[in-house]
């Protein structure tokens, strides 16, 4: 009996050490997996940001080309209209036979004194074309989903969480080392096990705070 009691106590202590070792190993592995998943999520967001950037850029270029392509047609009649207005101011009868006669006639017969804006709203009253406004209007029609800066920010946030969870692996690993020390040196078993448990708990709490922030 006297020999059996210490053996049973030793076995119980060994079991406790083994349990702490297993917990520390599982927590470290789980945290590594979590950090890996968060890193993958960050990577995914950054990749999506590139795809979105390419799509936005293609649309911007396309819209700019479209707007500039519309300028010559929209401004095609400007010179004739201005010529008609200037000629009309002179009041000279020969003007009815000159190049922009059709505009002069139209102006005179309709009693117009000033040019009216044409192709509003993109051609202004002074005859210029509102390129920036036209591009903005074309851009407004595009459906581009989540903007690239938002996706990049989401990726950065995931990466930050992954970094925090990754850091939390360290106390779990040191906890494993402390439990191993408890196994190797029975004299310091109790304090080493306490330290191991504290470190594993610290790892869990740190990972939960960092990973869900």
């Amino acid at each position: 009996m006297s020999e059996q009691a210490p053996t049973a106590a030793t076995e119980a202590q060994d079991t406790r050490v083994a349990v702490v070792l297993a917990i520390a190993a599982i927590v470290a592995a789980a945290l590594a997996a979590w950090a890996t998943l968060l890193t993958g999520s960050a990577d995914d967001h950054w990749q999506r940001a590139i795809r979105s950037e390419v799509r936005v850029s293609a649309n911007v270029v396309n819209d700019t080309i479209t707007a500039y392509d519309q300028v010559p047609l929209a401004e095609a009649t400007i010179e004739h209209r201005f010529a008609a207005a200037e000629l009309a101011k002179t009041g000279a009868p020969l003007m009815r036979t000159t190049f922009p006669a059709v505009y002069v006639n139209w102006f005179l017969e309709n009693g117009e004194q000033e040019l009216k804006p044409n192709e509003a709203p993109w051609v202004r009253s002074d005859g210029s074309f509102d390129v920036a406004g036209r591009i903005a209007a074309l851009r407004g029609r595009e459906t581009e989903g989540v903007p690239p800066p938002t996706l990049r920010a989401q990726g950065d946030a995931d990466a930050h969480r992954a970094w925090l969870v990754g850091l939390a692996i360290l106390p779990a690993a040191v906890g494993f080392l402390a439990a191993a020390t408890a196994r190797a040196f029975p004299r310091v078993r109790a304090p080493a096990l306490a330290v191991a448990l504290a470190l594993v708990l610290l790892a869990i709490v740190a990972a939960l705070i960092g990973g869900t922030s």
Partner: protein, 225 residues
């Protein structure tokens, strides 16, 4: 007084050594996993940023080229209108009717020119159109030079990010190599635990320890990249 048999003492030392080495390997593995993940994240971020800057540079260059092209076309047209209309005034000086027509043409040309210039972003008063043309030309050259400089800057920044991504990729690969050494060491420690204290067991432990040292050395060298 307890007397420890030499066989028992040797077994204890063996088990203690294996246990501690596994603990040390675990801490080292945690550090290397962090290093590997961190390198991967930085590589992915730099690579993504490099692509973004390249796309942005080409977008800026393309839209800038369209803008400069439109400005150039407008300026050429404006110069034609301004100088031709004034030439007609000089030519028609002796004829009253033609002179009226030529003056009307100047007014019309200047208004059209001002409209063309405003379309491409140059605001010039109609009354000062001719005097302003050289200034507009300087602005146009400035815009073209600015476009070229911005494109060159974008390409340089993109290349820097690609180099950065490359450096972190090498660091990540090195960390993976260190983890591979560590995995081999872990397998050897497992083998040692099966073989137990004895020459074969100690050989396995020694080789595993060398693996841990190699992994640590590779890990430290990773930080120098």
């Amino acid at each position: 007084m307890d007397v420890e048999l030499p066989e028992t003492a040797g077994r204890d030392r063996f088990e203690r050594t294996v246990t501690l080495l596994i603990g040390v390997a675990t801490v080292l593995a945690a550090l290397l996993v962090n290093l590997e993940l961190s390198s991967h994240r930085r590589e992915a971020r730099a690579s993504s940023e490099g692509s973004r800057l390249a796309v942005s540079a080409f977008r800026t260059m393309t839209t800038g080229s369209l803008d400069v092209g439109a400005k150039t076309t407008a300026l050429v047209r404006v110069s034609d209108l301004a100088f031709n209309s004034r030439a007609h005034v000089i030519a028609a000086k002796s004829d009253f009717q033609m002179s009226l027509l030529a003056k009307a043409e100047v007014g019309s040309a200047d208004r059209s020119a001002a409209a063309y210039l405003r379309t491409v972003g140059f605001t010039v008063p109609v009354s000062q159109l001719v005097q302003s043309l050289s200034g507009v030309q300087t602005q146009l050259l400035g815009a073209a030079a600015d476009r070229e400089r911005r494109f060159a800057d974008g390409v340089t920044q993109s290349n820097e990010q690609v180099d950065r991504a490359d450096r972190y990729a090498r660091r990540g690969s090195r960390a993976t190599l260190a983890l591979a050494f560590l995995a081999s060491a872990g397998a050897l420690f497992g083998l040692a635990a099966v073989l137990r204290a004895g020459r074969a067991g100690w050989v396995a432990v020694g080789t595993g320890a060398l693996g841990v040292i190699a992994a640590a050395a590779v890990g430290v060298s990773t930080l120098l990249l």
